[in-house]
């Protein structure tokens, strides 16, 4: 049977149960190693893909949205026939301007955070209820 593992590298397929973070890091390294052993053409294609992704990075942001909001955004984007990221950007201009000019505030929505990186969390449930009541 052919051994697909790149030379000099231990496969981690038969590991006992491990922490998901450890598993994902090991997988990432293994993928890079596999890539290093691809034919030259394939390697350069992958490299270009990575460079293209790298160029888009400054425009990118990863957000955790409430499921309901995500679903509604997806539906709206589909209905309007526009990319979801452009729709989100379109919708954000006004509240961001208002927040910068202090015509709206986060006061009343802030709660203590369980994460040392942030001082507070925002009570999104309350926000959703208030918006649906107003409209």
């Amino acid at each position: 049977m052919k051994n697909d593992t790149p030379k000099g590298m231990t496969s981690f397929n038969d590991l006992p149960g491990v922490d998901p973070a450890v598993e994902s890091l090991l997988g990432q390294v293994q993928r890079r190693q596999v890539e290093a052993h691809l034919p030259k053409i394939e390697r350069s294609r992958k490299k270009k893909e990575r460079e293209r992704a790298e160029k888009r990075k400054p425009n990118r942001i990863n957000l955790d949205l409430p499921q309901d909001l995500k679903r509604r955004l997806e539906l709206l984007a589909k209905k309007e026939g526009v990319p979801i990221s452009q729709l989100v950007a379109f919708l954000l201009y006004e509240p961001i301007f208002q927040l910068e000019k202090r015509t709206i505030s986060l006061w009343g929505y802030k709660t203590a955070s369980g994460c040392p990186k942030f001082e507070c969390n925002l009570d999104l449930k309350r926000r959703a209820e208030e918006v649906s009541r107003k409209s």
């Binding site: 000099g8 590298m9 231990t10 981690f12 590991l15 006992p16 149960g17 491990v18 922490d19 973070a21 450890v22 598993e23 994902s24 890091l25 090991l26 990432q28 390294v29 293994q30 890079r32 190693q33 990863n62 203590a112 955070s113 369980g114 994460c115 040392p116 990186k117």
Partner: protein, 257 residues
Amino acid sequence: MHTTITILNQKGGVGKTTTAVTLASGLARIGYQVLLIDLDTQGNVADSLGLPHSDDLRRLLSPDLRCPLDQVITPSGFDRLDLIRSDKSTTALKQTLAGVTLREYILADVLASAAYDVILLDCAPSADLLHFAALVAADYLLIPTRLDKLAVNGVRDALQTLTALKRISRCQVAGILPTFYERVTLESHEQLIHLAQTFGRLVLPPIPQDTQCRVATRFGKTLWDYSPNAKALIGYEHGNRRVGGYLQVLERVKEWL
């Protein structure tokens, strides 16, 4: 009732103090009352937080002084985080304690009534008396290790010490923390696989190698304050997630409390 976590590896330079300071300050920031005790004669916990060294530990444990806990505790300057500092006098303390009976229980006894949620014990890189006392006082053992052969041997030694103290210690191995992880080097990868194969779920998310840790120490600040977006805190980018880093480790530690 507090939870005591000992941070220990007999190998030096594996990130014990950085781990102790970062986890202690992280836990304090999210609302836990934390006491961090430096058991190392080098007194690096104080350095890491921009404080002078002191013989707090000797005054607390020395049989002829035995100062009460509240008289040796120093506020760290951060909310909810207190310290018991150490310095060269800890060497003399160890010599003094060598003749004391039931010396392995000395830390457990003085900490029994401490009003904290979490107590973190930062051990010295040597198998000495305070090392044993820390294992007897602890509920959990966290073993940071560099991803190289010698440091991984240190993990084995730490586990052997714990086994030797089984009769008098209720301490459980909570995790093995790979530090100085470099995802671009094959050796880091191989050693991480080796750890994961041997210890499975005990292996915690690795801490990326990050110069910001050293810089933060130079300024006497915690990583949370000096560089909240440091790789060592937030881990590596992986698709649309982040993996590894103290932030993820803190989530695991919260499960033990």
